[in-house]
Symmetry: C2
Subunit: 397 residues, 2 copies
Amino acid sequence: MGRPVYEGLKVLDLTRIISGPYCTMLLGDMGADVIKVEKRGEGDISRTYGPYVNGESMYYYVLNRNKRSLTLDFRSEKGKKLLFDLAVEADVLVQNFKPGTLAKMGLDEQRLREANPGIIIVNISGFGQEGPYAKRPGLDAAAQAMGGWMSVTGHPNQPPTKTGLFAVDYMTGMYALIALQGALYERERSGVGQSVEACLLDSAVSVLLTGIPYQQLLHHTVSRMGNRDGVTAPANVYQTKDGEWVLFIAGSDEFFKTFAMISEQEFLLEDERFGSIAKRLEHEDEVDQYVANWIGQWSAEEVVEKCDKAGLTCAKVATMKEVVENPQLKYRNKIIEIEHPKVGAVPMQGFPMDYSRSRMSIRYAPPTLGENSEEILKDWLDLNDGEIRRLKEEKVI
Amino acid sequence: MGRPVYEGLKVLDLTRIISGPYCTMLLGDMGADVIKVEKRGEGDISRTYGPYVNGESMYYYVLNRNKRSLTLDFRSEKGKKLLFDLAVEADVLVQNFKPGTLAKMGLDEQRLREANPGIIIVNISGFGQEGPYAKRPGLDAAAQAMGGWMSVTGHPNQPPTKTGLFAVDYMTGMYALIALQGALYERERSGVGQSVEACLLDSAVSVLLTGIPYQQLLHHTVSRMGNRDGVTAPANVYQTKDGEWVLFIAGSDEFFKTFAMISEQEFLLEDERFGSIAKRLEHEDEVDQYVANWIGQWSAEEVVEKCDKAGLTCAKVATMKEVVENPQLKYRNKIIEIEHPKVGAVPMQGFPMDYSRSRMSIRYAPPTLGENSEEILKDWLDLNDGEIRRLKEEKVI
């Protein structure tokens, strides 16, 4: 394998919790030198989030591999100066503070650009750097609520439902990364950096598909449909004989025919209520009943096997226990382990993408607070032992 | 504004439906020259997906701006040759066929690399190019089921629930883009391309946060918690006096204190059941009841305003109608309109990220089928009018 794609790229990471740390972790996975600057004595607040194993936060752990940690007292003048000096050396600065905070930390953009014209500044926030909601606290759940996700998730006649994952946080980190990668590519030509921006609300709204034209052109408000998809039928979740749930879809006419055959319900093909996708959608309750009756005769394992043979989409609704045992994920090495000094091997998600030639690897386990302060100040700023000792004595690092 | 970041980058887009088209649309948004190659006479199957306005698919429309369309008969020898010739000119080729299909179309990777050593090939699939599930049809819902999303979404003691958006499809397109942007950056140094890969299952699993260590180290299977988040309390969805729903979170001790004050329930602060995050989680039913009682006294508008003033997170669960009217999205121009020749202005999601200097713009409306075939063959392959006329006569394009 060759060298990582972003080897040598210097990233100053001032982010906390999920969106920002995920952005910089992916950069680290792709080989960048990511320096996570954390508040002296406290660190990223997510270090206090559970679950804990031997007192160590797993939450922090799964979001901060391939980074080194430097602690800094942001409020002291010397701390501010060190932060500025580090930013002068950086190719990329990533932050997800509330809008306006960065300047207060001494990292005024204009001043920084004068000292480092190539720097790319990545601003991540809940609602964007400007606008009427800019100062509101940005949380994944708020973006799911405000961005329309909750109103379309869950069952009709039941409350709106949150996706049980911080998916919008993650997506925002990904958009921030996409934007900064574009800016890096452009910098190869222009020689100059710029600022890029991503936020939770925009990210949530980016995936509404036809929800916006449905509303504005057809005046139809898309709402929650349970596990149906509104595009084709049958497409739903059904219970099996052993009390498990499977997701089953037989969308096209051809797949519906296959379903009728393997379920030995060929009479469905003669029934004009089911003669096209549009008609099956119109009679979806009845379609669902025929599918449910068949699936209810078998265990989840049996029905998945039958469908797999017939080329139909059927997947058991996997519990986390089943996810970690998934044979495809094992084959592709998508659940990895990273050694933690106090915990031992910690299992977590692997790399979400693959390169044929460039290496992706775990170069650093998620750092303990301030684990790499000394070496970073030597690497990036050429400080000597005496200078570092004084910074420690003065409680700057 | 300056030039777009990927201006001049040539992208050969062989993708259909969501994941691939979203990847290439973002490239187009960032200025790349994206040629969408579609099957002659049919095109991307999503052209047949509703909703329709004046007979035109809105589904296709929201996923294919900033591209030009070329139709091709993939099965004919001349069609295969044209496709290969185009790939020789391309910087990037993106495909989301079933594994193995690309080679059958004459685009054998090794042969293509010999002719075009710089090409970056982006392979998108449901479960990866290899492994026991590689040949299964890849659908967003199947990845949500198999990847653990459904088991953690919805209410306890109720069926697992699908996120009502094709979020995994979108994320997969985004990971594919992140990977290819990395490969492009690396190519600036090495001069050589490579293949990159993203798939639905890996993407779904990438955002499980602590689900994997919870399972494997603590033997606790994370499951669905309704609208709670399992990390702090109160954090839930509550009904307002006017029958609407709001998402409300007051996670920290400080925020809980603020909640007690503005709801005039200061006695909560004396109650030892609510004295810390851990205790509030332990007594979450009671906490929720106190919050629900307060929120139930006000309209959604009133409670959001009260919380906003107090700095607490509270967001109305927005319907699509409210999303399109969101003042923050309006301020930031995040719902845009693109002119369709038969429909007029079509509203859709705007750009999910921003550059301070490089331009993002709509250079092309989503193309009609084969709209740009001639100009593309002239631009990319220098064909002359006679050659193009013959290809048309022979029904190759």
